[in-house]
Structures are given as structure tokens and as C-alpha cells.
Amino acid sequence: MSEFLLDVKNVKTHFFTDKGVVKAVDGVDFKIKKGETLGIVGESGSGKSVTSMSVMQLVEEPGKTIEGAIKFKGEDLLQKTTEEMQTIRGNEISMIFQEPMTSLNPVFKVGEQIMEVLMLHQDMSREEAKNKAIEMLKIVGIPRAERVVDDYPHQLSGGMRQRVMIAMALACEPSLLIADEPTTALDVTIQAQILQLMNELKKKLGTAIMLITHDLGVVAQMADHVIVMYCGKVVEDAPVEELFENPSHPYTKGLMKSIPSLDDDKRRLDSIEGMVPHPLRLPKGCYFEPRCPYAIEKCKTHKPELKEIASGHKVSCFVATEEVR
């Protein structure tokens, strides 16, 4: 068993639309150790969600993972059959989504939806599953769990529903939990509770978390290791302290600058000029070149590769790698 729980090598997931091929995920590499939290940061449209869906093999038409390998506990998920994937989903890898309001089936009781996973993967009987469901609800901090188990989703608040999602995801004690912007739709106070809950559960159940977010604050608080994605590629990969102290890729620097900090009295926030390029008309060289203040000639013509500039800190940018050397 390699020491990495999840080892993603050069994964490419493209969408074959009738207007052209959109390279949503264009050669992504990263690794997650057991019990570790990996943060995936990037603007919307950078391929974060598609990466997570590729891991789960739930990419919808017309998308398809055409290259690379996703080694989970040493086995490549891309070679698995649909049935094998179905035994993994919800059992060994489970997922929670951004929109708690619409992610639960409105016509089934909340308890039923949790019990379903337990009965499917742990083949428990109905009452065993019900008790476990109640237990899970208690774990995720839902008061009066015995009553809530028989409630319908529309009877719960957004925060409560996200807790139910987490209960459902962790019911089978998966080794990896993929959280696709879990707190974006919640207000700040609830957000903090959910994040704190996820950390407790991580420690208690030893579940690795792949946390996808565009919020650097969340990453700082939760992640052990971070990768920054831009236009379907990983542009920087570093442990969290290293990244915050020493952001090397111009895009990461731009992101860092745009975080509002309490002690800074500047009224206008810095933002990165320009827009994310149209997926069908990507520049030839480095994708960030059109918006990069430090761009040099080479950036226009060649595509940078991820190179290690410090222990565990890689960056794919010519300027950044030269400077260090």
C-alpha cells in the first residue's frame, strides 16, 4: 500500500461539446495522505469541481476522463467497472455539495436517505441503520436527532441540511471525503461551525478530506496541503504555511493580495486584471500570461511545467522558478 491514500497522475477530463473540446481538467497531479486535508483553490471555471467529479467518475455528458490515473489505495479508479465504482462511492469515498437546499431528495425523510447508504454498503437491517443514522445525526451536532430523523428536508434550515449531508457522507466512515465548496452557501457563523465539525470528524474517524473552495480563509483554517488551479491546470502545490508565507506563482500572489485583512485600511481591494480566458480559445503559452504582470517573452510561447522550488513546494511558472534559482 503506497503511503498516499489518493494519487492523481496527469488526469485529463475533456468536454466534447459541439462547439469544440473544452479541456476542463488538463493534466492535473496531486496526492493526499491518509487523514490529511488537501485544499483545492481556484476561481470558478478553473476545473476544481470537474476534478472532484473525475475522482468519483461521475462526469456528466459530454465530459469524459481520457488520460491519466487516479490511484486510490493503490488501485486506479479509471480501470474500475461501474459496479466496482458503485461499491466505492458513498462507502470509501463520499461527497458533499455546495447547495444543501437542493442536495437532499425532498420527498424522502432525512433518516431514510442516511439509512439508504448504510443498508447498501454495510448491509445493515432497517433498525440498525436507523439507530446508526440517529447516532450520525448526533455526531454532526443535530439536536433532538430522534425526531429530526423522521423530518423532511424542507423542514430543516440550510445549516442543518448540510450537517445531514455530512452525516450521510460519513455514515460508512469513508477514507476520503470530497467537499465541493461545502460552506459557500451558508452564512458565516454556520460556516465556522461546519468547518469545525469537519475537523473534529477528521480527527475522530481519520477521514482524509479533499476540500474544494475559492475562499483562501477556509483553506488557511482547514488544509494541510494546498494546490492552486487555473484553467484546468495545477499552477502551485505546497504545504499551507509555505504557500501563505511564500506564494510564488503570480496568480497565487494575486489571490493572496485580494484577501481583505482587518489591519489594512486601504479602501479598494486589489484584484487581478482581465478575465479567465474563454475555454475554447486558450492562449498558446502559459494560460495566465495575458493577466500576468511578471510575464516574459517565453511565457507567451511555452507552457511551464510544475517544478519543485522548495521541499514539497512546486510551481509551474518560468519567472517563479528562475527567480528562485
Binding site: 461521475l58 463520499s94 437542493t102 442536495s103 424542507h154
Partner: protein
């Protein structure tokens, strides 16, 4: 829930009364009087004698008095006598209504039995060959007048291929009983059932397909898949349970059709159903038959609507039953 049902039933009473009033006025407003219709042309009956018969049936009284007399009789369960058949309306109706019910219950089961799976498949495999096929096929059903479609089937299967009988519900002169009788009726039912079922497929398949398409896009379907459920379970349990909501309204609409009978289809296949009785009742201005049948269908329709709303509450927990 029981309180709600009771309240809705109470609410129906004024509605039924209003319907009966409007219906009575409409039926009376139909030009042509039943006595003249019954006596027909060149009956050589003296006009004063005609007046005497009208007086006997109370047709000469002003409309509101006739209505009150009719209402009193209805409340005591006496539906009056048919001018055409000269027998109590209840007796005439009971002879024919069950034939209509028999035909329509089979059509109901077939129509929903086919359209639900087909609708789901067409939704899941959108724009596939099967989806296109069923879209066009089900449109054939509603773009052909039923008598035209009926006759085509008769000339095709009954006259040329001689597989099915041409008309009627049982073979004339046959002394079948028990199973043989049932088989004989079944043989006679095939063609009318095809006409009525295909006729209704178009709307059912489309409604099921569209409600499924709406549901399949929802987030909770993605969640279901992420829980490792098989595609079958995701579609038939999670998706279909939500698509059931608009389908329940269709069942409500269908309840009355179980009894109203298709006037034209019953006529083309000489199926002794209630449709033909109603048609003749209207043509011959047989007031009691027309009033009783239409009141029965109106009440059925109201029940159907109630069933719909209850169905909603059962199927969709979000709808509170105030």
C-alpha cells in the same frame, strides 16, 4: 387529513348544486322538445293530445318549478323515467355503464402501464432513437380521429385478416359462459382498447417524460449517484418518486373517463357502452337520462379533483394540507 377531506366534501355540495342548476338550464335550453322528438315525424297525433302528454311529464311547467321537482326526485334517489326507453333511468344506465367501465379500466391500466416506463426511458435516453420513435408514434395516436383509426383497424384486422370480430361485445347467438364468455369478450375488446390506449399515450408519455426530465436535472439526483446507488435505483426510486407528483394529477383527471365512455369509439365498434346512451339521450332530448348521467360524471370529476389534491399531499411532503 380526514378533517380536510370532510371539509372538501362539504364544499362540494354547493358546487354540485350550482352545476345541477346550470346543467338543467343548458339541457332545457337545447332546442327541440322530447315529446316531439319521441313522436318523430308524421306521427299523426293530434296537437292537443301532444299537449296532454307534455302536461303529464310536467314539461309544460316553468323551468324553475321543473328544476325543483327534479331536485326533489333526485334527492330521494328517483332519477326519473327515460322518455326514450320508457323505463327508470337507473335501470337503463345500469345495463350499459359497466360495459364502459370494463373497457376503460383495461385502457387505464394499459395506458399508464405503458406510458410510465416508456416516459422514463425517453427521459433517460433523451434524443435517442427510442425517444424519437416514441415521440412520433405517440403523436400518431392523437392526430387521427378515433372513428378513422377505429375503422382502419377494423378493415385491417377484422375484415381482411379476420383475427378479431368486426363489432359488438360478444358473438351474437353464442351460448358461452364462464371462461369462454370472458375470452369472447376479450377478443371483442382488443381493437377498441388499442384505439383508446394509443389515443391517450401521446399525452401520458409526454407528461411522464417531461416531469422526469425536470427531475433528472436536480442536485439530489447527483447526490444519489454520489452515494453509490445503481443507476436503476437512482432513476426508478429517487427520480421517479419526484416525477410522480404531476402524474398523480393525471390519474385524477382520468377517474371520470372510466365512466364517461368514448361516444365515437363505442359507436364505431358497436360497444354497448354508456356513451351511445348519452349520445342518443342528448339527440332525443331525453332530459332525465342526460341530467342523471351528466350529474354522475360531474360528481365523478369532483371526486377526481379531490383525489388529485389528496394525492398531492401524499406524494409531495412539501404540500401542506391546510
Amino acid at each position: 387529513m380526514l378533517k380536510y377531506i370532510l371539509r372538501r366534501l362539504l364544499q362540494m355540495i354547493p358546487v354540485i348544486l350550482i352545476i345541477s342548476m346550470l346543467l338543467f338550464i343548458l339541457v332545457q335550453a337545447m332546442p327541440g322538445d322530447p315529446i316531439q322528438a319521441y313522436l318523430g315525424v308524421n306521427s299523426k297525433v293530434n296537437p292537443e293530445v301532444k299537449e296532454r302528454i307534455k302536461a303529464k311529464l310536467g314539461l309544460d311547467k316553468p323551468i324553475h318549478i321543473q328544476y325543483i321537482m327534479w331536485l326533489k326526485r333526485m334527492l330521494t334517489g328517483d332519477f326519473g323515467e327515460s322518455i326514450e326507453y320508457k323505463r327508470p333511468v337507473s335501470e337503463v344506465i345500469s345495463q350499459f355503464i359497466w360495459n364502459t367501465f370494463l373497457l376503460n379500466i383495461v385502457v387505464f391500466i394499459l395506458a399508464f402501464g405503458i406510458s410510465i416506463p416508456v416516459g422514463i426511458i425517453c427521459a433517460v435516453k433523451k434524443y435517442s432513437r427510442t425517444d424519437n420513435f416514441w415521440t412520433v408514434f405517440s403523436l400518431i395516436g392523437i392526430s387521427m380521429p378515433s372513428f378513422f383509426f377505429g375503422l382502419l383497424l377494423i378493415f385491417g384486422f377484422a375484415v381482411n385478416l379476420k383475427i378479431f370480430p368486426i363489432s359488438g361485445m360478444i358473438t351474437a347467438g353464442s351460448r358461452y359462459t364462464g371462461l369462454a364468455y370472458a375470452l369472447d369478450v376479450a377478443k371483442h375488446m382488443v381493437l377498441p382498447t388499442i384505439v383508446l390506449t394509443i389515443g391517450s399515450l401521446a399525452s401520458l408519455v409526454r407528461y411522464v417524460r417531461n416531469s422526469m426530465l425536470e427531475v433528472i436535472k436536480q442536485d439530489y439526483i447527483r447526490t444519489a449517484r454520489s452515494k453509490g446507488l445503481s443507476e436503476k435505483v437512482v432513476i426508478y426510486r429517487h427520480a421517479f418518486r419526484n416525477a410522480l407528483i404531476p402524474i398523480v394529477t393525471l390519474i385524477g383527471i382520468w377517474i371520470p373517463t372510466l365512466f364517461t365512455g368514448a361516444i365515437i369509439t363505442e359507436r364505431v365498434f358497436v360497444w354497448p357502452g354508456i356513451g351511445r346512451v348519452l349520445y342518443h339521450g342528448v339527440i332525443m332530448r331525453d332530459y332525465n337520462i342526460v341530467m342523471t348521467l351528466n350529474m354522475f360524471f360531474a360528481i365523478l370529476m369532483l371526486m377526481g379533483n379531490l383525489l388529485q389534491d389528496i394525492g398531492y399531499a401524499l406524494v409531495d411532503p412539501r404540500v401542506k394540507v391546510e
